[in-house]
Every structure is written in structure tokens, then in C-alpha cells.
């Protein structure tokens, strides 16, 4: 059940109606818990059972470790939680990746390893809900938050359907306090949520899904396409992945808001970033802050005697972030490239700090370089293997002219036009102006934009890219 499916609209209409008709907070939480498991079970009921077991175990581990002062016992509980969550993730997501990598390594030493062949189905959203659960037990272990006393509350936090399958990754310290009292929502919040849902729908359905056939065409047969078509396809993928994922996040935040809950902002115009650090402050914010807090800082962060150690921490963190996205070396390389770019940028800034006079043009150049680096790095993210990635990267750098096949020329302008649109929407506070419309005008415009959005809907099933992670 995707947010863009008719089935979801029916499901959510029923959920909203029943939810707001319930008076007590307890009844509402029970109902959301039930709805969340129904939502998750609509993919595969077996994994709903797994989610329930994992969540119940993490709740118990956190409760136990908060009740004991014995440091050794506390470590055992948090290690058990880490092992369980990472074990599930490793098995479902990385089993074949580790096995095939080990076999390839053995082959290079003329050794032949044979391993079991298992037919593993990846539970949807496993990377998201395991990370969310991990942050809970680690936070309790670090004594940063108290444990959640109620099993029902914890299960609801761990399975909250708006963000269960593709984030934003919610921190317990942010979400759990919201559960303590019955949620309310006013007219302004409803308008904002409806606006955000439609915006997300437009990004996902009207933009990302319409562009994806062109991207697929070129990435599936890169050798036959011209250099310009390849560059255009990379730009289109840059738009597609942003609109796909940020569209989903917008809809998730809006759905939660209509239930009275606030989720964290996950994207903040990342392609307007003026450095690679800035990009990661704007792209998939809930993941980047997660890996910062639980990997980078755990490794020692930037408080080191030697700069090289900080850079090492940065690289390891980004490599892990890359691997989180997918079980393939291309994802690891993507994370590594982003890590390396951050190291280079930090060192450059250190060696050549900008003077106030240089600031504006350095900012402009930095934005251009950052955007093009991000575009090129997406090649690694999208390409099915390194040979395709190398070919596409050569085309991007005009080192290879490519074949004869083309895609429509006008598609090359879609990226720049959308970027200018986004900049203007922020500059002229489009959202604020839309939300300040009187209710009748807002409703009239809202219906009209939906009519356009439905016309722009390409027909065919195109799941969210981040669902595979």
C-alpha cells in the first residue's frame, strides 16, 4: 500500500474518521497501533510478526537496562539489542552481499568457496525501523532519555505507519513525548498538512514517475545512447531521486500531521547547498543526523588530537551511510565518494579560508561544484555495476561521445527549470502565501491542482526508490 495508491486513500480516510471520533488518547493510540500493523501487514503479514517481536524485545531491553545500575548488565542489554537489530538487518539485507563478496575475494586467491543459497525476501522498511529501534536503546543506555514504560506506546512509536517504511527516521526523544496527551489539530495545521501532501504527491507522481522511464532507458543500455543523452539522464535521475524520496517524506509528514503528530523535516532544498557538508545538512536529514550521532560521534567525531583521525571518522561514517542504502559495492563507493569530498572540502577551507570579499563568488562556484559532484555521485547510486558507472561518468566528463540513440532534447531543461522554481518558491515564500489564502480560495485552488496532478499521473506501478532500502 503506497501513499499514492487509491487503496491508501481509502485506508487513510477510514483511519482519520475513526481516529478523530475516538475521545481518549489511549483509544486513539490503540487504534493507530492496529492501523499501523494492518498497513505494514498489507505487504507481508509474516514481517509484521517480526516487527512486533523486534519492537517488544527492544522495549524489554531498554526497560531492563534502565532498571539496573550494574554497568556490565547494562552493556549486555544494549549489546543484545544492537546484535538483534543489526543481525536482522545483516541477514535480510546483506547476507547475499557478504557471501558473494567473500566468494569473489576467495576466487581472486584461487580458492573456491561455496555457500548456502537462500531465497531471502527483504522486509520493506527494514533499514528504517531497525535504525529507529537502535536509537531508542542506545539513547536509554546513554541515559539521554527515560525508557517508555508502556509496551503499547513503544509498539506504536516503532510502527507508526506514516513513517514506518521509508522514514523520516524518528528519534524517541522527539516523538514519544508527543504521545503523552491527546493530539489536537487546528485549521492552519490541516491546511499545511494538505498542502504538503499534495506537494509530495506532485513531486513523486507528476515529476519523479514521469522522468523515470527516460532514466531507466539510458541506464539500462548506456552504450547505445549519446553523450548528451547520458548527461541528461544523470540530471533527470538527480531530480527523480530527490522528488521520489522527498515527495514520500512530505507525504509521510503530512499524514502524521493529520493525525496530530509532528515528524522531523527530512529535506531542505539540498540542490541549493553550497558545500558538500551543507548538502548533508539538507539531504535525508533524519539519516544524516542519525549516522552523525550514533556512528561519527561514537567513533570520536571531530574531537581528536590529529586531523587525520577526524577525516578517518568522517570517511568511515559515510562508507557506512553508503552501505546502509544498499547491499552493493556501488553504494559503498557512493558513500566513500561523499566522505572523500567532505574531507577535501574541509581541508581546502582550512588551507584557503575565504576572505569577506571572496565570499559571494566562492559561494557561487562552490554551489556549482557541489551540485555537479552530487550529480556525478548519483551515477554510482543508480548504476547497476561499476562498468556502467564508469561509462556514464566518462560521458558526464565529456570523455566519451557515446552512441546514436537520444532522448528528447527538452528534457535537458527540466532540471534547471525545476531548480529555478524551487529557488523562487523559497525566495517568494510560496508555501506561506498559499497557506495564507482564505479557506474558500484555498479549497478551490486545492481541488484545481489535484485535477492537474491526476492528469499528470503516469499509469503503471512505480514504487518509491527508497522502499528498497
Amino acid at each position: 500500500m503506497l501513499f499514492v495508491d487509491l487503496k491508501f486513500f481509502v485506508f487513510f480516510a477510514v483511519v482519520l474518521t475513526i481516529y478523530w471520533s475516538l475521545r481518549s488518547n489511549g483509544a486513539r493510540k490503540n487504534f493507530i497501533l492496529l492501523a499501523s500493523y494492518y498497513f505494514y501487514g498489507s505487504w507481508d503479514w509474516r514481517f509484521a510478526g517480526m516487527l512486533l517481536l523486534l519492537s517488544a524485545a527492544d522495549w524489554w531491553f531498554a526497560l531492563r537496562l534502565s532498571q539496573t545500575a550494574d554497568q556490565r548488565a547494562r552493556k549486555i542489554y544494549v549489546t543484545a539489542s544492537l546484535t538483534m537489530n543489526l543481525g536482522v538487518l545483516a541477514f535480510f539485507k546483506y547476507f547475499h552481499f557478504f557471501l558473494s563478496s567473500a566468494q569473489a575475494l576467495a576466487d581472486s586467491f584461487k580458492l573456491h568457496l561455496s555457500g548456502p543459497t537462500l531465497r531471502i525476501i527483504l522486509p520493506v522498511g527494514v533499514s528504517f525501523f531497525t535504525f529507529q529501534s537502535l536509537s531508542y536503546t542506545i539513547d536509554v543506555y546513554r541515559r539521554e532519555i527515560p525508557p517508555v514504560e508502556s509496551l503499547r506506546d513503544y509498539l506504536m512509536f516503532a510502527s507508526f505507519f506514516p513513517q514506518l517504511v521509508a522514514g523520516p527516521i524518528v528519534r524517541p526523544r522527539y516523538f514519544v513525548p508527543q504521545m503523552s496527551e491527546a493530539r489536537t489539530i487546528d485549521r492552519g495545521q490541516i491546511k499545511a498538512a494538505l498542502y504538503l501532501f499534495l506537494l509530495g504527491y506532485i513531486k513523486k507522481v507528476c515529476i519523479a514517475d514521469n522522468l523515470s522511464p527516460y532514466v531507466d532507458r539510458v541506464f539500462n543500455h548506456p552504450a547505445t545512447y549519446s553523450g548528451f543523452a547520458s548527461i541528461t539522464a544523470v540530471w533527470l535521475y538527480t531530480i527523480q531521486i530527490f522528488c521520489d524520496f522527498s515527495g514520500y517524506s512530505d507525504m509521510a509528514i503530512a499524514v502524521a500531521a493529520l493525525l496530530g503528530y509532528k515528524l522531523v523535516l527530512n529535506f531542505d532544498a539540498p540542490y541549493l547547498a553550497v558545500s558538500i557538508q551543507d548538502f548533508w545538512r539538507r539531504w535525508h536529514i533524519s539519516l544524516s543526523t542519525w549516522i552523525r550521532d550514533y556512528i561519527y560521534i561514537s567513533l570520536g567525531g571531530s574531537r581528536n588530537k590529529y586531523r587525520i583521525r577526524t577525516y578517518f571518522n568522517l570517511l568511515v561514517t559515510m562508507l557506512a551511510g553508503g552501505l546502509w542504502h544498499g547491499a552493493a559495492w556501488t553504494f559503498v563507493a557512493w558513500g566513500g565518494a561523499h566522505g572523500a569530498a567532505q574531507v577535501v572540502h574541509q581541508e581546502f577551507k582550512r588551507q584557503f579560508p575565504p576572505t569577506p570579499a571572496q565570499e559571494p563568488w566562492r559561494k557561487a562556484i562552490s554551489w556549482f561544484l557541489t551540485l555537479n559532484f552530487v550529480c556525478m555521485a548519483w551515477i554510482l547510486f543508480r548504476a547497476p555495476n561499476f562498468s556502467t558507472a564508469t561509462l556514464m561518468a566518462r560521458r558526464y566528463l565529456f570523455l566519451d561521445h557515446g552512441g546514436a540513440d537520444v532522448i528528447p532534447l527538452w528534457l535537458a531543461f527540466v532540471g534547471p527549470v525545476l531548480l529555478v522554481c524551487q529557488w523562487m518558491m523559497r525566495r517568494y515564500r510560496f508555501e506561506g502565501r498559499s497557506l495564507s489564502l482564505s479557506l474558500p480560495w484555498f479549497a478551490l485552488a486545492y481541488g484545481a491542482v489535484w485535477a492537474l496532478a491526476i492528469g499528470m499521473m503516469p499509469l503503471g506501478y512505480r514504487p518509491f526508490i527508497y522502499f528498497q532500502f
Binding site: 489539530i185 487546528d186 485549521r187 490541516i190 514521469n210 491542482v449 485535477a451 503516469p458
Partner: protein, 360 residues
Amino acid sequence: MPNSAGPFRKGEFVKAGFLATAGFVLCAAAIHGALGDPFRLYASLRSEQLEVMDRLQGSSFSSAFGSSHVHNGFDPATFDRGMAGTPAQSSTENMAIPGGSQVEQRATALEYLRSLHAPHASPNGPKSCMVLLELGAGANIGTMFMVHPRTINLYDWHGVRLVSELTDSQLGRRRNMGRVVFAAAGSAMYYMNVGMVSNRIFKPDVDEETVKSLLANDRRGAELMSSDPRNQASLKRVFDSAPKVSQPVPTELEPGNYALVDELRAASPVHPLAFVYVQMPMMADMESYPVYPDHLQSAGGPVPIINLARPDVHPELYQLQYWHDDAHLNDHGAELATAIAANELKSWYAAHGWPSACKE
């Protein structure tokens, strides 16, 4: 519903809903008007067939319409050879579409008629203009095409009306109702322009390979398939298990069958336009087969009904070597069935009178 600062009042909620609906309807109507006829928007299989139609324009004066049974089972070249030397001699093409339906054959035939011209008079050239319609095609497109441009770009209110006129007493009330609901849902999507703007902006290319194969070897839109060895065992089982005598099922014509002929005749730029209804054979006929009247009496005259689904009359068709699968003839079967159809039609015209040469 909500209950804090600036809450919604019930009346306000209803008013907002009404205005949002009004905004939606107004914008959808404006888009629908701006888009023009959505039938030509890309829909896989149909667009390829329409491309074939465009390429044959000027050289074809008759066409067969319907579903895959006609698409695979009617060979235009064989038909023309069969009708050669008669007053109904023509140059025919096959515009049937796999998965097609009565609603789709109506729209495709109307599209065909839009660009139809009468043939130039010549002693040995084509003389008549003919439309062959499939009698047994389903009322609606298959449900796998429910949320698909094949359906959405097709179901204007005329389509819904046609489906409502194709009530089949043998289907029962519930299934007939289901047909109309399907058509109404298709029509709602049609007027909501679902996917149409995207289809126009990001227009997919017609599959050139398919078009080429439909035009190769003088096929003129037909897809003539050879026997599939993988189907042979299951086909043999069907033949072996078939009863010795098949049961005839008297079948009534439906108001929609009449309405379709009348509508197409009214839309035709050439006159007279000859109509033929064809019932294609299927292996299920070996258990029971439909029995139709000899012709349908439309407002413009009688329309012959060529019923090939008669194992009692055409036992030669029900031989293993003529079938691709249990519902479709192979290339040899298509050739034989088309030749039989041409012969039956000639006999019918000989008894009831030949159509005169068509003119604009």
C-alpha cells in the same frame, strides 16, 4: 473533528469540500477541453494498431475490428482473394486489438471511418467499403487494463451507453451490473483525465518493431501466429476430452449490436457502407456453441452474421493443426477460417443481394 485554536466548524468543512470539488471539476473540464480527443494518446497495442491504420490509409477500404480472436484469426489478404471478382471486392485490413472489446471496436471503427475514402473506380480494383465487427467480443476491455490508457482514453459516455445496451441475459444481473460499473469507472477516469496530461507531455514512442511485424508479408494488421509446440499437449487434451456432439445455445442479439451498426453507418463518410458481424471460433465451441440468426436487421438494412463458431457446420476448423491455443487460431487456421467466412459471405450476398460500389 479537530478541537484547538481555529477549529473547523462542520459547515465550514462541508463548504471547503464543496469548493475543492468545484475547483477540481472546473480544472478537469478545462484540461479535458484543451486535450482534445484522448483516443489518439498513447496506449500500448492500440497505438501500434492505429499506426498500422495510418500507414494503410488510402490503400484499404474495408476493415475487420474486434479482439484477439479476430486479430489472430482473420487474414485480410485471404479475405480479399475470396471476395475477388465479386461486387463486394475490396482491399481489407485487420484493426482488431488483442484484449479488445465492443467499446474499443466501436472507437477504433469510428477512427477508421474518419479517414476513409471511397476507392477510385477501376474494373479490377476494390469496389465496396465494408466493416467487419466481432459479435462475440466482450463488452468491456479486460480487467487487467482497468487503470490503463487503453481503458481510460476510451470510455466517454457513448462507451458507457454501449455497454449498458449490451446486457447479456445469460450473464445474470450481477455480472451485467459489474460490466456497467466497470464502464462507469472507466468513464470517471476518462473525464478526470487520469494520466492524459502526462501521456501528452511525456509521449511514449510507438513500438516500431510491432508495427513492422504487423505490416510484414502483407498481413495488414493481423498477427498470424504459428503453432506453439508448448501448447500442443494441452490442446490435445482439450480435443480428447471434448464431447462427441456439441450443444447448440440459441443466442439473442443485444440492443448494443444494433446501435453500434447504426452509429457507424451514420458516421461513415462513404455510402453504402456494408456491415458484417463475425463470430470467431474457439475450442470451447466443441462443448457448446452459440447459434445466431442469419442476419441482424438494422435501420439501414440487413447485416449478415457469419458464425464460424459452428463445429457442426465447419468441423474442418476444429482440427488440432489449426490452433495456436484454445482460444486462438494459428496462421493456417486463420487462413482457413477467413476463406470460409468469405465463402459464407458470398453465399449470403448471392441470396440477399450484393452491396453496391461505395461512393463519398
